[in-house]
Each structure stands twice: as structure tokens, then as C-alpha cells.
Symmetry: C2
Amino acid sequence: MDWEKVFATRAGRMKASEIRELLKLLAQPDIISFAGGIPDPKLFPDQAFREAYADIFATSAGEALQYSVSEGYPPLREWIAAHMATIGIPCTADNILITSGSQQALDYLGKLLLSPGDTALVGWPTYLGALGAFNAYEPTYDRLDPETNRSASDYAETAAAAGGRVKFAYMSVDFANPTGRTMDRAARERVLDLADELDMAVIEDAAYQALRYNGEAIPPILALEIARKGNIEDCRTLYCGSFSKSLAPGLRVGWVCGSKRAIGQMVLLKQAGDLHSSTLNQMAIDRVARSIFDDHVAMLRGVYAERRDHMLSALKRYMPEGVSWTHPEGGMFVWLTVPPNLDGAELLAKSLKTQRVAFVPGRAFFADGTGGNTLRLSFSLADKETIEEGIRRLGLLLAG
Amino acid sequence: MDWEKVFATRAGRMKASEIRELLKLLAQPDIISFAGGIPDPKLFPDQAFREAYADIFATSAGEALQYSVSEGYPPLREWIAAHMATIGIPCTADNILITSGSQQALDYLGKLLLSPGDTALVGWPTYLGALGAFNAYEPTYDRLDPETNRSASDYAETAAAAGGRVKFAYMSVDFANPTGRTMDRAARERVLDLADELDMAVIEDAAYQALRYNGEAIPPILALEIARKGNIEDCRTLYCGSFSKSLAPGLRVGWVCGSKRAIGQMVLLKQAGDLHSSTLNQMAIDRVARSIFDDHVAMLRGVYAERRDHMLSALKRYMPEGVSWTHPEGGMFVWLTVPPNLDGAELLAKSLKTQRVAFVPGRAFFADGTGGNTLRLSFSLADKETIEEGIRRLGLLLAG
């Protein structure tokens, strides 16, 4: 059977990542890896989860193992709504949809908003998983750059020429994957101006929001929009949150927060997509969040801040001339720019043979295929000695 | 903000179900409900799950709470591959993708195969959730009826006139939701003939496969195709399985089994869609399936068979002239056809005021909006006395 004839047209946009294949080769014990952007499993609150599951089975097994509503487990939606209020976003449980991780939120947002040929505005670079999610809905990408003064009509005309209209701007706002950069308040406000002018939605990816190590918190875009418009129901921003970085990713629990009209339409997608997220896991997250969220996140901040400091200090010592990097105030990533004659993918292949240090070449994060001379490093998994040795090796690789 | 301007065109196909709203009104203590097609929570193997989660936290908490591969937890894929062999489908773990329930398998199959305007062949009636999943990809539906001799070229021409091609035939094969009917072997073979002629995929929904109460098992369509072609890799059938009816739905674990080419492409959709299903829940299902699957399913068969028998016996006693119904050999559903002057939705609204018995009006299961004089009853939740009283009330409703 020739499956190509039967696949939908979107299949052409959904290719296996060469980088992912290369990184599989690098998953060997003598490799020092800064590639994965994943939490340190030694920091998971496993005791709290163990107790939560035991308690659920002791008190509510029938409910936990049964089907449940597509919107999500009501007490967890209540907790999230209260949590949103603490970061400047007053809302109710009706403004919250529980998703299976924030990756699913991005998939459903693409599904909600994009018809083939519509335009999505994204950063150059942006989160690879967002491009993967949106690609399924066959958009055109245009570059969102709040630093420039490109006019709304210019964006609109470019989108019309591509056969659709601008449907949304997507951005990771705090300590972004992959750059570690944070959008300042002025840039957030400019995105809201642009959104009103273009009559588009705004997708605010706040996956790392809780992991700030220094500097002052900047209000979420949705908070700034509520301040402008007075009410979440009049807002066009859809905020994507996740427990993957603050508690644990293996349960697949995240959420979207926005106006009831948009959330209500997303509930229909959830119902048609997988009925609901795991009842049991939502109940466990609810219990664990209520008992330890703030304390646990405070602990994570302390540990990850030290690792970031080690990495920034090692970079200063070992990077050769011509290499620059970001100085993230939180999250898990530092972003390197190497001289333009170097290529990240070639460097990674070379590293497999020589220095045995792994990172993610940056090109995959660029919707236009540029960014060859960039690399993403994660400091989330490594202790001080490993960071020291790995960055030393990276210095040799880049110098060689 | 006018969200309608920003939504994708698919939003027009994704409406809230009026029936679902009506059924919410019926969720009151004095109502006898045959509406939900859900397992009896009193029959969940909660002790086995309690032990599985305790064991996982004692031995593998870090792994269980962490990200994992999009294909699914390898030992569970191995167990499923071995299970598939016992029902006539020899395969390996590489032929299995774990999904978040078989509803997600249906969503991803629509996403894999359908571009707007393509045709999906479905039964009149068919599983409502499949129509919901596929609607997001804007197909045209044509009627699959293996009983008639409609030619492949007639299907192909109808699809071309609708602006696409026939991409797949979808069917629930054993004790289908909503009818309780089972496709006989000859009908399964005819679907395979048609699939080869139309060069289309076949989606075999086997959600209820394990719940057979009497009669002889009929080989899955995928087993029949392997017998024809010698190898799963040459097959066009994609088999969707689920633990929701055999173990528990609240964990959201199901699977798709098919050729590596098709499964590999679906892995990309899974990666872009939600990264992976819950690591922890997959590990728990793996442990529970290995320890109790066969015994547990045997117990379920005994209990549900009795409930089916009670319902069929009560129908015989209480249904007025002009009402007919199916005699399922398994599953959870009996399908009623009432005189053509009656309408299921009107009957349900009337029942809310008078007899207080709930069921699902059949029209929602028909892609063409016919079927007004049909009703779906589920016997999965009710004990003998409740079935007796509920069917007695239904008889009064239909007689009145």
C-alpha cells in the first residue's frame, strides 16, 4: 500500500526531526548532555504524589478510574483559577480548560484558529514544539518582532498574499525555550496593540513562568490585557500553563486560561480529541498543588538558580572569542550564538566523535530555517562538576 | 472580540451537542438512566491499581513522573503486541502506538488521513465520538453498507464530486456503539475488497472486542487482512483498541495497531499533539494488565451478560407493538427502533416530565441526520431491579 496517497496534505509538514535522531545517538553514558530541556527527576515531589495516589485510592477510586468531564476536574480548575489571580489574572474555573500538558494546549489552539494558509506570527527563533503543533494545520509563518516598527497593515497584507489572514501571535514570554529571554513589559504591550489592530488572538506560552530566579516578575500578557479591557471575557489572549516544570511532566496536566467563548469552543475540541485528561492524574495534581506547590517551586528555584549560575560562570571562563550567550533570569536554557561560519548541526555531529558534549542545534527553532550558528544549552539536569566539564569541552569544540 | 472571525473553518463543524445538554438535566437521583455508555465503577479493579501505583512509587518514581517517548511505554507496547497475537494479529511493539484512549486514536487517524473535502465512509448509524473526531478535519461522509452491492467506482465518483477522494472506511466491529450489532465475517471481507479497490485505509474500532458474552468470536478485520496479505506491513487496516472498557477509562490509555509506516507517521502526530500519554498511567496499566487482564475481563463478561439478559427479557415483556430491538452478543448497548412517527429527542424531553427514564436519542449517530425513530439503551450500569423498572417505564412512555 502506498500510504502517501492516503495521507492528508498535512503529512508533508510533519517530518521526523533529524536532530531528534542525532540526539538519540548521543544518549550514551560518557556523553555530557545539555540537550534535553527536562526537569531533574531527583527533584520531583514523589513523596507527595505517592501519598496523593494512596489517598485517592483509599477515598475515591471509583471516581478516579471513571470517565470525567472534558473541561477538567472541577476542584483543579478552581485551584488554577485562584492561582491565576495571584499572578494578576482574576478569573473563574469557567475560564480554565485542563489539557494533557501545554503541548496539547498548543495543538488545540492551532486546531481552534488555523485553516490552511492562515498566518501565525512567531518569533525567530521560537519553541520547536509550537511549530510542530501548528504545522498540522498548515499555516504560513511570519516573523513577530515587537522590537521593530513593522505596521499592522504590513502584516495583514503579507498574510493576505499568502492566502489567509493573521490568526494569532504566539510567544513564550518568560525565560523562553530556546533562548532563555524574557519579553519586557513594553514588548508585551506592543503585541497587544498589534493584536487589536489585526483583530487576532494572542497565545501566551507561560510554561516556565514559575521558575524565576532573579529580577522582578513582569505581568503576563493576559494580565496586561485585563488591565486594559477590564474583564477577561473581552480579552483575546489565551494563556497556556503547565505543571510539567513545577511539579512533574509524566502526568500530562496543563491548562489554558481565556475568555469563556474561546475556552468553550476548545472544550468541544477536547471532547472530540480525547474526551478528557486522566481523571486520576488531575485529582493527584490537585491534591499535590494544594499541599506543596509554593514550597516546592521555591525549592526548585533555589536548585536551578545555582545550576544557571554555574553554567554562566563556566561559559565566561571557557568560551572562545566570537561566542555570545543569553543571561536568563529563570527557566532552563542558555542560548549561544557562535561565529556565522559555524553550523550547529555540524558541530553536534563533530562532538559525537570528539568532545562528547550534547546540545540542540538552533536551526530547528527558526520557522524560516535560519539560525544555523545558534545552540541551545539546558542547565536543568547537571550538577556543578558536570557543567564545568561539559562547558570546558564545548569550549574546545568551538575553538577547534 | 468577535471570535467567529478568528476561528478556523472547522469550528462550524464542531457544535455543542443538544443531547448532551439535555442529558445533563437528566442527571438527577430519581431518574433511571440507560444513557451513559460507561463501565460500572463498582467493577473497576481498584485494588490492583492501588497496588500498581504503590509499587511504581516504591521502585520507579523518577521514571514514572518524567517525560517519555511518544510511541508509548515500551513494556506496555510489548504486552499489547502479545495480546494482539492472541486475537489473530501477529505483530511487534513497533506496530503499536499508545494513545490517550481510543478517542485520541480516532482524532489522530482523522488528522493522519483527512484533508477538507475528502470522504470518510461510515455506517448509518455509527459511533458519535468518531463523527466528532473526524468532523475537525472537515470530511464529507458517505454511507458504508457492506450489505449492498454498491460498486467501488460509485463510491469513488461520489467522493470526487465532493472534491476529494475516499480516504477510509470506519467501523465499530463488535457489539458496536450504538447498535450492539457485530459485523459478520463476510461483511468484514467485503470491506477489505472495497478497501483494495478504492486504495483506502480501514479503521477498525475494537473498543468492545473483549466483552463478548456468547457466540463465537469473529476474527478482527486486521487479522483477516493479514491472512490475505501475509504480513501486517502490507495491510491497510488500523486497529484501535482500548483499556477503557476492560480495565478503566479514567487513565486514558488506548492503542492503535497497524503497519510501521502508518504507525510511524502517527507517532509524529502524537509528538506534535501532546508529546506522549501519561508515563505513570501507562506503567500502571502495564502492571495491571500483566497481572489480572484475563481474569478481570472474564468477571466483567459474567456480570454484564446478566445485565444484558435482564434488559432483553424486560424489553420482551414491556415493549408495545411496533418497537424492535437488537440482540447484542456483547458490549453495553441495545438499539431500539420505534414507530416512524415517534422522535427520540421528543421522547427524551417528554420522559423528563413523565416517566423519568433516560436514554440517548439515535439521530446524533447518523451522519445524515436521519434515525429520528431510534434510541440507544445501555445496560452496563444497572442492576436487575433497576433494569426491570426502567424498561417498564420506557414501555409506558412508548405506549403513551
